[in-house]
C-alpha cells in the first residue's frame, strides 16, 4: 500500500471567488474555497490541459478539506464590461467576491502524487489564482507537504493564518470552521451536498458531480509567526543556554 500524505495550501488574497452553483450572469461565491477551484489550481500548476480528464481524475480523487481562518467580507460587483477590441458592451453581470479572506486548504492522498503537485506549485506551468483569473494570491500558496498525516491532523494543527492586521483587531476565535469530506467510516448524516466535485474541466463541457461536505470546528491553533525574526531576537537567550548546559 502506498503511503498517504497531505499537501497544505494557504489561500489568501485581496479578492477570491469560489463559485459552486453559478449560472449565467449571476456569478456567486461560496464562503469557502470549493474543491473544483482548488483541484483546478493544482491541475493548472501541474500543467494539465483543460480537456485532459484522465490526468485530472487522480487529482479529483484526493480528499479535500478547508479551514476558514479569516472569513473576509462578501462584496458584489455590478459588472458593466465592454469588449476590449470592439468596444461592444458585454452582458451585464453580477459578480460576488470574498474580500480579505484567508483559508487553509488541505488535500489528502497518495504521497507520490502530492510530491509531484508540491513541486508543480513551486514552479507552476499556469500560475495559481483564487477561483477567478482576476484574483491572484497575495502570498505563496504552498504551506508544506507532510507524510503520513491525515487531513484532520493538518486542519487541526496548521498555524492560524489570519493576516497581521486581522490578528491585531480581532481576538483569536475559540474555534475555526472546517469544511471537509467525510472519512470512509464516518456516516454522512448531517452533511451538506455541494456540486463541486470536478469531473471534467473541458472548456466546452464542464462537469461537476455532487460531493458531501461536513461542517465541523477545530480549536484555533496558535498563529504562525509573521515569518520575520524581527522583534524576537534575544541576546540573553544565548547566555541562558550556556548556563543551562552547565547546570
Amino acid at each position: 500500500m502506498s503511503r498517504t500524505g497531505v499537501l497544505v495550501l494557504r489561500l489568501a488574497g485581496p479578492l477570491q471567488s469560489w463559485g459552486a452553483s453559478s449560472r449565467f450572469t449571476r456569478r456567486t461565491t461560496e464562503s469557502a474555497p470549493t474543491k473544483s477551484g482548488v483541484v483546478g489550481l493544482l491541475a493548472a500548476a501541474a500543467g494539465i490541459e483543460r480537456g485532459d480528464d484522465t490526468r485530472l481524475a487522480p487529482l479529483a480523487a484526493l480528499r479535500f478539506g478547508v479551514r476558514i481562518d479569516q472569513p473576509g467580507t462578501r462584496i458584489r460587483d455590478f459588472h458593466t464590461a465592454h469588449h476590449g477590441v470592439t468596444g461592444a458592451s458585454m452582458p451585464l453581470s453580477e459578480r460576488f467576491y470574498l474580500a480579505d479572506a484567508v483559508f487553509v486548504a488541505v488535500v489528502e492522498g497518495d504521497h507520490a502524487l502530492l510530491t509531484g503537485l508540491h513541486d508543480a506549485l513551486r514552479a507552476p506551468v499556469y500560475p495559481p489564482y483564487l477561483g477567478r483569473r482576476s484574483c491572484p494570491p497575495s502570498e505563496p500558496v504552498d504551506l508544506g507537504r507532510y507524510e503520513d498525516a491525515t487531513l484532520e491532523d493538518a486542519l487541526t494543527s496548521a498555524p492560524w493564518q489570519a493576516s497581521a492586521w486581522y490578528r491585531r483587531r480581532h481576538r483569536p476565535p475559540q474555534t475555526l470552521t472546517v469544511l471537509r469530506e467525510t472519512t470512509t467510516t464516518e456516516s454522512a448524516e448531517s452533511a451538506d451536498v455541494l456540486r463541486d466535485q470536478p469531473v471534467s474541466f473541458d472548456a466546452a463541457h464542464r462537469r461537476h458531480a455532487l460531493r458531501t461536505v461536513v461542517t465541523t470546528a477545530v480549536p484555533t491553533p496558535l498563529p504562525a509567526g509573521d515569518g520575520s525574526p524581527h522583534g524576537t531576537h534575544d541576546p540573553f537567550a544565548a547566555l541562558d543556554d550556556l548556563e543551562n548546559e552547565r547546570a
Partner: protein, 262 residues
C-alpha cells in the same frame, strides 16, 4: 566583557530626550562607567562600549550595552526607567558576563544575529573631486555592504545561504541586470532610518550643522568562520557611527522555523 539590557520607560520625558538624540544616549551610556573619563579617547583596537536600541513594540524599547566593565545604569533608571520598582535585588537593568559566550564561539557554529549598522561607502561624483562618504540607501546596497566578502572575512563570520528549495526568487537578477543578492541569504534588512540631530551648540549662538546618520538593522543567520575575529567584532563593533548606537552585533540561538506539524 558584559552584556546589559535596560528597558526604557517611554512615558517619561527623560526617555524622550534620550531616544530623540543619539548624542544624549551615548553620553548617558558612557556615564555608566566610572573608569571612563569624558576626556578618554578609546584605543583603536581595544574593546569598547557599544550600545543599540531595539524597539519591539511601540512602548517596548530595549537598550543593549556591551562593555568591558560592569555598567552602573542607575542614572538611566532614574531618568528613563522605573526607579520606584527598582530594589537591591533588581536594580532596574540586567547585566551578565559575556565571556562564557565569547569563549564558546567555534568555527562552524550557527547563530541568529541582529546588527544595527551605518553602511557607507565613498563616492567621487566627478573626476578630480575628493571621495566623499555616502550612505547606502537601498536594501540591495545595504545587504551588499554586509555581504561583501572582504568584510565578512574580517568580521569572522559568513551570512548563511538559504537552502535552494526555500528561495522564492532566483538569485542575481534585477530588471536592470544589476547584480543582486536576491533571496539567496538568510538576511533581512529592516528599519532604515535617518537620524538627524545636533551634535553641539557652537559658541556664539551659531548652531553647527546637524549630524545625519543612516542606520539599518540587519537580521539573519551567520556561520562562524574565524572565532577570534568574531570575538573582536562582538566587542569592538562593526562599521562607523559606533558612538551613535551602531555596530553592536548580538547573537541568539538559532531557532528552527516553526512549521505546521500535522
Amino acid at each position: 566583557m558584559f552584556l546589559s539590557r535596560f528597558r526604557v520607560n517611554t512615558a517619561r520625558p527623560g526617555a524622550r530626550r534620550l531616544l530623540s538624540s543619539p548624542q544624549a544616549m551615548h553620553a548617558a551610556v558612557m556615564s555608566s562607567f566610572p573608569h571612563i573619563l569624558p576626556s578618554d579617547s578609546p584605543q583603536p583596537d581595544a574593546p569598547r562600549v557599544l550600545w543599540r536600541l531595539d524597539q519591539r513594540a511601540r512602548a517596548e524599547v530595549l537598550l543593549y550595552v556591551v562593555s568591558p566593565d560592569r555598567p552602573d545604569l542607575t542614572h538611566l533608571v532614574e531618568q528613563a526607567g522605573w526607579p520606584a520598582v527598582a530594589g537591591p535585588e533588581n536594580p532596574g537593568w540586567q547585566t551578565r558576563p559575556y565571556a562564557p559566550l565569547l569563549d564558546r564561539l567555534a568555527t562552524g557554529d550557527r547563530w541568529a544575529f541582529r546588527l544595527t549598522a551605518n553602511p557607507v561607502h565613498t563616492v567621487r561624483r566627478k573626476e578630480g573631486e575628493p571621495r566623499k562618504l555616502t550612505a547606502h540607501l537601498t536594501p540591495v546596497h545595504q545587504m551588499g555592504w554586509l555581504l561583501d566578502e572582504e568584510r565578512q572575512k574580517r568580521l569572522g563570520f559568513r551570512v548563511c545561504e538559504k537552502p535552494a528549495d526555500r528561495r522564492l526568487l532566483p538569485d542575481g537578477t534585477t530588471h536592470h541586470k544589476q547584480p543582486h543578492p536576491g533571496d539567496r541569504y538568510e538576511l533581512a534588512v529592516q528599519d532604515t532610518r535617518s537620524l538627524a540631530f545636533d551634535k553641539s551648540r557652537g559658541s556664539g549662538g551659531r548652531r553647527d550643522k546637524s549630524v545625519i546618520v543612516v542606520t539599518v538593522t540587519f537580521e539573519g543567520r551567520l556561520e562562524v568562520t574565524d572565532p577570534a575575529a568574531l570575538r573582536r567584532t562582538l566587542t569592538q563593533g562593526i562599521g562607523r557611527a559606533r558612538a551613535y548606537g551602531c555596530g553592536l552585533l548580538t547573537l541568539a540561538p538559532v531557532t528552527q522555523p516553526t512549521h505546521a506539524q500535522p
